[in-house]
């Protein structure tokens, strides 16, 4: 049962829970984290890919992204954001995001991205 999982980091419980259910309904294994700190406290060995919310209290999405890349983690990281602007997008890409999605998103688009990421 050590199949790679999709790690989901979002401080909003409903968003996090619904994303996990969507992933599970398509056959993925999902693992949820309510904050960046909780993720960092976990051994990321089974992380197939990461779905990351940008706006969180404490360590923000962009900061987590930078930290993980700095630690040499190469797995795909898909960033989800409720508010988009050019400056922030540029920052996210520069921090090493694999993909960037706006909330609310098309489920198929998300699942395609995750499938692609897990296959990578």
């Amino acid at each position: 049962m050590n199949a790679p999982a999709v790690y989901v980091v979002d401080d909003d419980e409903a968003v996090r829970d619904s994303i996990c259910l969507l992933l599970e309904s398509s056959g993925f294994v999902a693992r949820e984290f309510a904050s960046a700190e909780l993720l960092l406290a976990t051994e990321p060995g089974h992380m197939g890919c990461l779905l990351l919310d940008l706006h969180m209290p404490g360590i923000s999405g962009v900061e987590l992204l930078r930290l993980l890349r700095a630690r040499g983690i190469r797995r795909p990281i898909i960033v989800v954001s409720g508010r988009r602007d050019h400056v922030q997008d540029a920052e996210v890409w520069a921090a090493g995001a694999t993909a960037l999605l706006s909330k609310p998103f098309d489920d198929q688009q998300l699942l395609d991205l995750v499938a692609q990421a897990m296959g990578a």
């Binding site: 409903a14 619904s18 599970e24 209290p57 609310p104």
Partner: protein
């Protein structure tokens, strides 16, 4: 014996001045002159002073030794001095007497040059062939002064009444107008001559005809009226809104004979009050809209969360049900997903309702509210969009807070405003701590919003609650003014003070 002694007493009683003898008469005269309160003076036909009593010394300030033998002119100012000369010349020439035997008001001149009014009576006499005139001088200064004072006071009162901004009128008990000042002319349109002698009903609107009788009977029962707002009718027919004060008028024996009425025209004040109120409402609305502009981005983000979750849950349920024969576990999962989706639509609805309440311009509606809940909701709304700002939020709400009758939306608006101000204040500081506390004290409910920002600039602190005062680059400076209006509308107060590094806003609300 007894009867004879009585007789001798009667005889003694009948003594007259002639019994005093020449020396006795001279002594009596001297005593009379010395005792007289009025000045007594005698002159010869050329005007030389022959006699000058003690009262004269007091009146004129000259000693007798200074004036006896001098011309009486020295005691008279112009033009009386010349009149005297003419009079003496006239008298000596024709024997015509103009003053003699009578008296008249003239003016005396004191040693120091000052003058005083006096009543002078003059008589004429002769002694061993020499003619002389006697003058009795009654000082009128005190009387004149009293009269002037009284007239002055009357004049002053009349001037005060005339110059008053307020209509001041008096009426007799039967409602007849007895006086009418200039302001009454202006406020009611009738001139004093048009009004005095007429009935007060001339300025009463038809639906208030009985009011004057009521006022009089109130006064009779010892009640006065102050600042009673009522309506009067102007000569040209329009209504005048007045603030009326009424007091009884008594005659010298203490019997009430009428009433004085002071009326201030408050039409203009009322109009500007209404205008001001309208402007305040308008301003509050503008303030809300402007605050809403700043908040709409944050709200949009907040709405995005439930919408995202709803879409995900619905899509997940759809996928779980795609199988021809879904497993019971999948069916259960789909059902749960749909339920969660519904919960999220309610969450979205709540956010939208908040937004609408926030923008809506409406009358104050007070209901007993759970203050703990009111504060929690307001603070969480205030934190919208700041959940990633690293702010340590401390809610110190006393357990079991009483329900307080407030307009929930308005009070939450105030709290929201204070919370968002606090957030902005802390944007540039390292340690960000927001403490919201609520307690019950002697003065009622005390809510404190304390931040760890840079605090209040001295030049702003004193004017904090004035409109259009702000330190924010994009602020209009009306937020706190609106907060103050709302809190005062609840009978409470809002104050601000420096607290450690930051600022503390203290709201006091009555519990009643």
């Amino acid at each position: 014996m007894r009867s004879s002694s009585l007789q001798s007493e009667e005889i003694e009683d009948r003594q007259d001045l002639s019994d005093f003898g020449t020396r006795g008469q001279a002594g009596l005269l001297a005593a009379l002159l010395a005792t007289a309160v009025d000045g007594i003076i005698a002159i010869d036909p050329k005007g030389h002073i022959l006699l000058y009593n003690q009262a004269c010394e007091r009146l004129f300030g000259y000693r007798a030794s200074e004036v006896v033998g001098q011309n009486v002119r020295m005691l008279m100012p112009e033009p009386y001095r010349h009149e005297l000369d003419d009079y003496i010349a006239n008298y000596s020439g024709t024997g015509e007497r103009r003053v003699i035997g009578g008296g008249r008001e003239v003016v005396g001149r004191r040693k120091d040059g000052s003058t005083f009014p006096m009543y002078l009576s003059v008589g004429e006499g002769g002694l061993t062939g020499q003619r002389f005139f006697v003058g009795i001088i009654h000082d009128l200064s005190a009387l004149r002064w009293e009269t002037e004072q009284r007239e002055g006071a009357d004049r002053l009162l009349a001037q005060i009444v005339q110059s008053s901004e307020d209509a001041i009128i008096s009426v007799a008990l039967d409602g007849t107008i007895t006086s009418w000042n200039a302001a009454a002319e202006r406020i009611y349109g009738f001139s004093a001559s048009d009004a005095i002698g007429w009935h007060i009903s001339m300025i009463l609107p038809p639906d208030r005809m009985g009011e004057d009788d009521e006022i009089i009977s109130r006064l009779r029962s010892g009640l006065t009226m102050e600042h009673y707002e009522t309506v009067r009718r102007h000569k040209d027919g329009h209504d005048v809104l007045v603030s009326l004060s009424v007091a009884p008028i008594f005659d010298a024996s203490g019997v009430m004979i009428g009433a004085s009425k002071t009326a201030r025209d408050v039409t203009e004040r009322k109009r500007s009050e209404e205008k001001l109120l309208g402007m305040q409402n308008e301003l509050a609305h503008v303030g809300r809209l402007s605050a809403m502009g700043q908040m709409s981005a944050a709200i949009a983000h907040e709405l995005n969360q439930p919408l995202t979750a709803i879409a995900n849950y619905a899509k997940a349920a759809q996928r779980l049900l795609q199988n021809e024969n879904p497993e019971p576990r999948q069916l259960q999962s789909a059902r749960e997903a749909m339920e969660k989706a519904v919960t999220q639509t309610l969450r979205a609805g709540t956010i939208i309702r908040y937004l609408r309440d926030f923008v809506e311009k409406r009358e104050s509606r007070k209901c007993p509210e759970d203050m703990s809940e009111v504060i929690r909701e307001a603070v969480s709304l205030g934190m919208v969009g700041h959940s990633h700002s690293n702010i340590k939020l401390v809610l110190a709400l006393k357990p079991g807070l009483p329900r307080v009758s407030i307009d929930k939306v308005q009070i939450q608006q105030v709290l929201l405003n204070l919370v968002r101000n606090a957030m902005e204040a802390m944007a540039e500081v390292k340690r960000r701590e927001l403490t919201i506390s609520c307690d019950v004290g002697d003065e009622g409910l005390i809510i404190m919003v304390q931040d760890s920002g840079p605090g209040l600039a001295p030049q702003v602190a004193s004017r904090l609650f004035q409109p259009f005062v702000t330190t924010k680059a994009d602020g209009m400076g009306i937020g706190l003014k609106i907060c103050q209006s709302i809190i005062e509308g609840h009978g409470g107060t809002i104050t601000a003070r420096q607290s450690g590094p930051g600022a503390t806003f203290v709201i006091q609300l009555p519990l009643g």
